[in-house]
């Protein structure tokens, strides 16, 4: 059982927002759609919600086997939390959450007492019981986001869609809400797709991460898979700090030029040469503020600059001085051909 999209293509003018995208979200799963702005994340979310429609005839949107490709938004029973919340400004928090229940057709509309009961339960779930009578303009950004989430959950959605749920919040609130969302998902287990451009957020919260680039899914997998085994240079580059070196051509084997990528924490620094893949480098600058120390180095043979992350202990042991020459060992090197530029 799953929510699934197949072969979705969507163009805005000449710009292809989505190019033959297929994605399957298993029941109860939390998937993050990660990608830079303009990669088509939000468009995919809106197509699943029924706010946009795919261009191509072969496209399909399936909710647990039911084909909803042509169904209008109000017939789909999806939950959507908008980036800027889109709370109804003329309704208080309680009525915002109750909205989806009140607009049901007469025959399926719950009784007033039931609506009351369900809204109160949701208010409790999002920890906003005390704010039921406030208007959206009277509560904070983080609270608005939780109201938006409760409102989306009130209709018991078949899939919950979150568009940059924490995008407009400050860093501290973001972190709190992130953990809260993870916890909430554990409790209610609703099939969820959430869009973000923040790789840290995606890797921390999601069961699986789908990386979108230029309207195509570049890679999909668990956070560990994606981080440790990036399928493409783009994914590797997008998921965090990375050093790049022009890769040495191995005995004429490679016909195209390629680039080697190494994460800053995958580089060992030592005063003595050790191992095979050692290089000589000169220390340019060091910065030991915070939990890790950052070292800026320069390769002696090619002059390429790179950064290294050391733990505080390693840094204290080594005490590198600017201008000093050291040996570095690169681990977990990933080599990708230069077929495109980033």
């Amino acid at each position: 059982m799953s929510v699934e999209v197949r072969n979705i293509t969507k163009k805005f003018g000449k710009f292809a927002a989505l190019d033959d995208v297929s994605l399957k979200i298993n029941s109860g799963e939390l998937i993050a759609l990660l990608g830079p702005s303009g990669s088509g994340k939000t468009t995919l979310l809106r197509i699943i919600a029924g706010l946009e429609f795919p261009d191509n005839a072969g496209a399909q949107v399936l909710f647990y086997g039911e084909d909803v490709t042509g169904a209008p938004a109000h017939k789909r029973r999806a939950g959507f939390a908008f980036q800027h919340y889109a709370l109804f400004r003329h309704l208080d928090v309680f009525e915002n959450i109750a909205f989806g229940l009140r607009v049901r057709p007469f025959l399926t509309r719950p009784r007033e007492s039931e609506i009351r009961e369900r809204v109160e339960k949701l208010l409790k779930l999002v920890q906003l019981e005390s704010l039921a009578k406030r208007f959206p303009s009277q509560i904070s950004g983080g609270q608005r986001q939780r109201v938006a989430l409760a409102r989306a959950l009130a209709v018991e959605p078949r899939v919950l869609l979150l568009d940059e749920p924490f995008g407009a919040l400050d860093a501290k609130v973001r972190k709190d809400l992130r953990q809260w969302l993870r916890q909430l998902h554990k409790e209610i287990h609703v099939t969820t797709l959430f869009v973000t451009h923040d790789q840290e957020e995606a890797l921390e919260v999601a069961d699986r991460v789908a990386i979108l680039r230029g309207g195509r899914i570049e890679q999909i997998g668990t956070p560990a898979e994606i981080y440790d085994h990036p399928a493409t240079r783009f994914v590797h580059d997008f998921l965090g700090n990375v050093n790049s070196f022009a890769a040495p051509r191995i005995a004429g084997e490679q016909s195209v030029s390629s680039t080697a990528f190494v994460r800053p924490h995958d580089i060992r620094v030592a005063r003595d040469p050790a191992g095979e893949a050692t290089l000589k480098a000169r220390v340019k600058r060091s910065n030991a503020v915070g939990p890790v120390a950052n070292l800026e180095l320069e390769r002696l043979d090619t002059g390429e600059p790179f950064t290294v992350q050391l733990s505080k202990e390693q840094f204290r042991e080594l005490r590198p001085q600017p201008g000093e020459e050291v040996f570095v060992e690169l681990q977990n090197v990933k080599i990708f051909p230069d077929d495109y530029s980033i």
């Binding site: 029924g50 109000h74 939950g79 959507f80 908008f82 800027h84 889109a86 607009v103 409102r151 407009a168």
Partner: protein, 295 residues
């Protein structure tokens, strides 16, 4: 002030902030504005009421009770009663379409809505004479079927409808554009039909702007002279509205009578302004500017 002992700035200048003019300049500007307002707005308003009662209270009420005056008042109220609801609906529909949907030639439609503001009301009246008049396009057909539009009430309603068309739409378009589409989208995803979305989300969000537009539309509908004058034919007791009746009285050397009727329109204007101020206050209180959230 680092060195007050060596630099003696004139006291008055030093008190002024960087964006404040000296006291006498401020007073001069305020006085000029007040004199202007007094001369061109307050004095004429007083003159209207003074003129109305120039021949005594008896003449005032005699004029108002005159069957011709009563007929003019009735026709004006009837016109407003037809025109305002129609333009209210047209305005909301046009604003809704323009603000919430994308379609070809949207800019042309937006510009067309302003047309009645751009052309002289006399021309607005003439348009209808040319279309529906005896010599006009549909004239012979209308005469053959015994339908009277020009020099009759339908013509007055049409002309007024044209002139007052932009008020509601103009008021709502920027408001609806500023509010965006996301609340409607949220309502749709939550299961609301298009109709429910309009009544439960769109309308509550625009109600104060709508009321404001309706008030202005009503004021103009009752006060319109030029367009109505062309199509009315000035048949006393039949096609005279209040503004036209004022002209008739005035040209019949009954200036006290003319002012008496004019005082009714002036009173309406005052009520409109008061209502407008109240609505503006209400709208501002209910829609405080959304807090900016740093991204």
């Amino acid at each position: 002030m680092q060195a007050p002992s060596t630099f003696h700035a004139p006291r008055r200048v030093r008190r002024c902030g960087p964006t404040t003019e000296p006291l006498f300049v401020r007073w001069l500007l305020i006085a000029a504005a007040l004199v202007f307002l007094g001369l061109f707005l307050v004095v004429p308003l007083i003159a209207v009421f003074a003129g109305a009662f120039a021949k005594g209270v008896g003449h005032y009420f005699h004029t108002l009770a005159d069957p011709m005056t009563v007929s003019a008042i009735k026709l004006t109220l009837l016109t407003a009663a037809i025109v305002v609801p129609l333009n209210c609906v047209f305005g909301v529909v046009a604003a809704w379409a323009i603000a919430k949907f994308d379609f070809p030639f949207k800019n042309i439609l937006t510009t067309l809505i302003d047309l009645p503001f751009a052309v002289s009301p006399v021309i607005a009246g003439l348009i209808y004479v040319l279309v529906f008049g005896a010599q006009g396009w549909f004239g012979p057909w209308l005469i053959a079927h015994n339908i009277r539009i020009i020099f009759a009430v339908p013509g007055i309603v049409l002309a007024t409808l044209f002139v007052t068309f932009p008020f509601v739409a103009r008021e709502l378009i920027p408001l609806m554009q500023a509010q965006g589409r996301t609340e409607e989208e949220a309502a749709r995803v939550l299961g609301a039909s298009g109709w429910q979305t309009f009544w439960r989300v769109t309308l509550p969000n625009i109600k104060w702007g709508l009321l404001y537009g309706v008030i202005l539309c009503n004021a103009r509908a009752m006060g319109e002279f030029g367009a109505v004058s062309v199509v009315s034919g000035h048949i006393q007791g039949v096609t005279d509205t209040m503004p036209l009746h004022i002209e008739v009285l005035y040209q019949g050397y009954d200036s006290a009578g003319a002012f008496a009727v004019a005082s009714l329109l002036a009173f309406l204007a005052l009520v409109t302004i008061a209502l407008k101020a109240w609505v503006e206050g209400k709208g501002a209180a209910l829609h405080p500017p959304e807090e900016k959230i740093s991204a």
